[in-house]
């Protein structure tokens, strides 16, 4: 893990360099290739989303066959097809750009500036094409999602029953060390997220600050519960042995004069109710028990109770944005990043 972070320093330095000096053709080509690659990935992602939307729309139609769902499913299917095409386009362009970049690099190595510049240009063009295709794919995907949402709405309005639907629930970022986690947590905290969390196999010190959590109010709950115990002990003893049915026991007083004999039970009930207060306080604050949480959809997450550290950011967060959030998490260099989806319904 530690090695990873050291290796990760390199590109960051380079990227800062980019902004300072004039980029070489080789660099431009590489940059273009990278962009094209990203565009292709995006396009692929869009395609996947579109495909899923189409599939879900088809499911919706299957479960709740109606005109609306059928139309939506068709629409989604079409959009998905479109997206697929675009994605293929983008991929091709990206391959081209990559190829160009490789060539540009080779040329640059040979010292052939012109060839390098040409290749670079080619790469830029390819990159642009890829970006366009990606955009188109994204549009198609958006269309597909739109259609799928329609299908969803139609299905929900139709009191449908059946296979659960899935939707993105959270981003899950995995880290190898508590340090990385803490660092990432600070970033997420500073980005202003609220519905997010760290998952650790044991309580990691300092995470409270790193996450910017307010102090827990559990102590207050426990205290109140304890005081209830104390008072109820006094009242119980007084009611039972003094008010309701006083009996002469050993010639001793039954009222407050018997206070010393009340102390042990006052104490025990205080403890008992504090204990219950704390237990239920924990469960209340932690909203446990909760056996179904989207985070469990991730297979990787099983390591959260073993030796891995995770950050999850939920879709429900106000600031959540598929891209920005992803970017934010990526910026923390997780060893793994995943969009976890949950079943709908």
């Amino acid at each position: 893990m530690a090695d990873d972070t050291k290796d990760d320093d390199k590109p960051r330095k380079k990227s800062t360099l980019l902004g300072v000096g004039a980029p070489s053709a080789e660099e431009i080509a590489a940059d273009a290739a990278a962009k094209a690659e990203a565009a292709a990935d995006d396009a692929k992602a869009s395609e996947r989303l579109a495909e899923r939307a189409a599939r879900e729309a088809a499911d919706d139609e299957k479960h709740v066959p109606s005109k609306v769902t059928k139309a939506a499913a068709g629409e989604a299917e079409a959009a998905a097809d479109e997206a697929e095409v675009d994605a293929v386009k983008a991929r091709t362009s990206a391959e081209v750009a990559k190829d160009a970049a490789k060539k540009a690099a080779k040329a640059a190595a040979k010292g052939d500036e012109a060839a390098a510049a040409a290749e670079s240009k080619k790469a830029l063009e390819a990159s642009e094409r890829a970006a366009e295709a990606s955009k188109a794919a994204k549009a198609a995907s958006a269309q597909a999602i739109e259609a799928q949402k329609k299908a969803d709405a139609a299905r929900i309005s139709h009191v449908g029953e059946g296979e659960p639907e899935k939707r993105p629930a959270l981003y899950l970022a995995e880290y190898e060390s508590p340090e990385a986690l803490a660092e990432a947590a600070k970033k997420v905290r500073d980005a202003g997220y609220e519905k997010w969390d760290c998952h650790t196999p044991y309580p990691v010190h300092g995470l409270d600050d790193a996450m910017g959590l307010p102090p827990t109010k559990l102590g207050f709950v426990s205290f109140i519960a304890g005081m209830v115990g104390l008072v109820s002990a006094v009242l119980m003893i007084q009611y039972m042995n003094n008010w309701d049915y006083p009996i002469i026991i050993g010639g001793k007083p039954t009222g407050i004069g018997a206070f010393p004999s009340m102390v042990p039970i006052m104490f025990e009930l205080t403890i008992l109710l504090t204990g219950f207060g704390t237990l239920f306080g924990i469960l209340h604050f932690a909203k446990l028990p909760r056996h179904h949480h989207p985070i469990f959809e991730s297979d990787r997450f099983e390591a959260a109770t073993d030796d891995k550290f995770f950050i999850s950011i939920e879709v429900g967060d106000q600031k959540f944005d598929m891209k920005k959030t992803r970017a934010l998490l990526e910026s923390t260099e997780p060893s793994y990043l995943e969009l976890v989806e949950e079943e709908i319904g």
Binding site: P203, T216, M240, E268
Partner: protein
């Protein structure tokens, strides 16, 4: 677990071997529940179930016939029953002490044994509660002990120390179970996540309550754990104090003693540690857990026993001083004749018939732990095994001495009597070992017997500040436990 860090200013170090990873801990602990039971487990388990059967049979016989099948008589209205009760409750105390008090005192080494000890507490309190429940003449009316509203408006008598006992023991049992369970939740989640079969996953999953290691949970959880530790500490002190009130608030010579509460608590810790150690040594050998329970742990526990043993010895001595100093003839009779057996021959020419029990107690409880002054003894597995067993025996005799040798010759010589145990007394006592061991072995097999999460938290690289980077090593010391993780530049 804010206490998880070693206390460097005390020279404390991580207790586990260098280079232990989180996964090593998980593996080591979980493996026990996931692999087939070793032969040693079966060798222990089958006799335990047999003893459990004996216990059930004895209880059946006891309830059918009446408590007269025990040797209790007049004046020894209590004998083995309450002896066993106090003994088992005392055993339980070590668990809470290890969990709670050591937690509050930031004693890091407790993490390797606290789960174990807490489980022992729960099982010991269960065993203990059998005796007061069955020692009543009509156990089916035991519910009279609880303040249940009823048509006759008959309420319990809250002046009775036995009533205090009811509340103390039930609170203790409840809190111990909760404390134990709360500590178990993250580890059950670990087991859940490692489960291969659906059934295991379901069961552990249900028990883990959907724990997902969320730090927002950990935050409340840690505070809750602290609160549990904070309330368990006075609770554990109070429970044996309340048990001692059974005796101390009475008028009987030998019982009516103000030193009882601290004396009982020290004795409880003493005997509890001894039994923890006895069992630990067995389990450690059977499951090969030498890396989790190291000699360092055992050494520390032995020191504890030495300390509490001396406290107990002090209490014994002080009782005699008071018996002599008070000038109370009944009191001094109990101590010098009933217990020491000095200077008194009965009409048959015998010493006080139970004097030997006092001497058994002193030799086991005061003399044998003195060997722990020597480091060689403290670190010798066979030696400590034998000594802890002696301590367990001695502490049983302590309760027996307090109960029986006080009762059997009290105020009026005309009512004096003697005591002889019956086979049911003995069999039921052995039977509770069956219950204890059965539960304990099931626990060892199916529940993580070490606090996985807590142990992980004590590893050197567990927290951001304690990382072992060469360039940041010096920073780590400056920051201390509470600072946030060091930013990476």
């Amino acid at each position: 677990m804010s206490a998880a860090a070693p206390i460097t200013e005390l020279g404390e170090r991580s207790l586990l071997p260098e280079g232990t990873t989180f996964n090593d801990v998980t593996e080591a602990v979980c493996r026990v529940t996931e692999t087939k039971a070793p032969r040693g487990w079966w060798i222990l388990f089958l006799p335990s179930v047999g003893l459990l059967g004996l216990m059930v049979a004895c209880i059946g016989y006891l309830v059918t016939m009446g408590v007269g099948v025990w040797g209790n008589n007049s004046p020894n209205y209590w004998a083995w029953d309450i002896t066993n009760f106090v003994w088992w409750i005392g055993i339980g105390h070590a668990g809470t002490l290890i969990s709670a008090i050591l937690f509050l005192f930031r004693q890091n080494w407790r993490t390797s044994i606290n789960r174990f000890a807490e489980a022992m507490t729960v099982f010991a309190v269960l065993c203990a509660s059998i005796f007061p429940a069955l020692h009543t003449g009509r156990p089916w009316f035991d519910y009279y002990l609880f303040p249940i509203p009823n048509q006759m408006a008959m309420w319990p008598n809250f002046k009775s120390p036995l009533m205090w006992d009811v509340f103390a023991v039930n609170t203790y049992l409840t809190i111990s179970v909760i404390f134990w369970y709360v500590g178990l939740i993250p580890d059950l989640a670990t087991l859940r996540d490692r489960s291969k079969s659906l059934l295991r996953k379901r069961i552990y999953g249900a028990l883990a309550l959907g724990w997902r290691g969320s730090h927002r949970h950990w935050q409340h959880y840690e505070r809750g754990y602290l609160i549990f530790a904070a309330i368990s500490t006075p609770l554990v002190l109070s429970v044996h104090s309340v048990v001692s009130f059974d005796f101390a608030t009475s008028v009987m010579p030998g019982w009516h003693t103000t030193i009882f509460p601290p004396y009982f608590v020290a004795g409880a810790v003493f005997s509890g540690f001894a039994l923890v150690l006895t069992l630990m040594l067995i389990v450690r050998a059977v499951f090969g857990l030498h890396n989790l329970v190291t000699l360092k742990h055992l050494d520390l526990m032995n020191k504890f026993m030495l300390a509490t043993g001396i406290m107990v010895g002090y209490a014994y001595a002080l009782e005699f001083f008071i018996a002599w100093y008070s000038g109370n003839p009944y009191e001094s009779w109990v101590f010098f004749h009933n217990r020491l057996g000095f200077g008194y021959l009965d009409e048959m020419g015998n010493w006080g018939p139970l004097w030997w029990s006092y001497w058994a107690m002193v030799s086991c409880n005061v003399i044998s732990p003195q060997l722990f002054w020597f480091k060689r003894i403290r670190t010798s597995i066979p030696a400590m095994f034998v000594i802890t067993i002696f301590i367990n025996i001695g502490m049983w005799f302590e309760r027996f001495v307090i109960i029986v040798t006080s009762l059997y010759r009290d105020f009026l010589p005309g009512s004096w009597g003697s005591f002889e145990a019956t086979w049911v007394d003995i069999a039921l006592y052995l039977g509770t070992f069956g219950l204890f061991m059965t539960l304990f072995l099931l626990f060892v097999r199916w529940i993580p017997m070490f606090a996985i999460a807590e142990i992980k938290a004590t590893l050197p690289h567990a927290h951001p500040h304690a990382e072992h980077h060469d360039d940041e090593h010096e920073h780590a010391h400056d920051h201390g436990a509470e600072v946030a993780p060091a930013p990476a530049e």
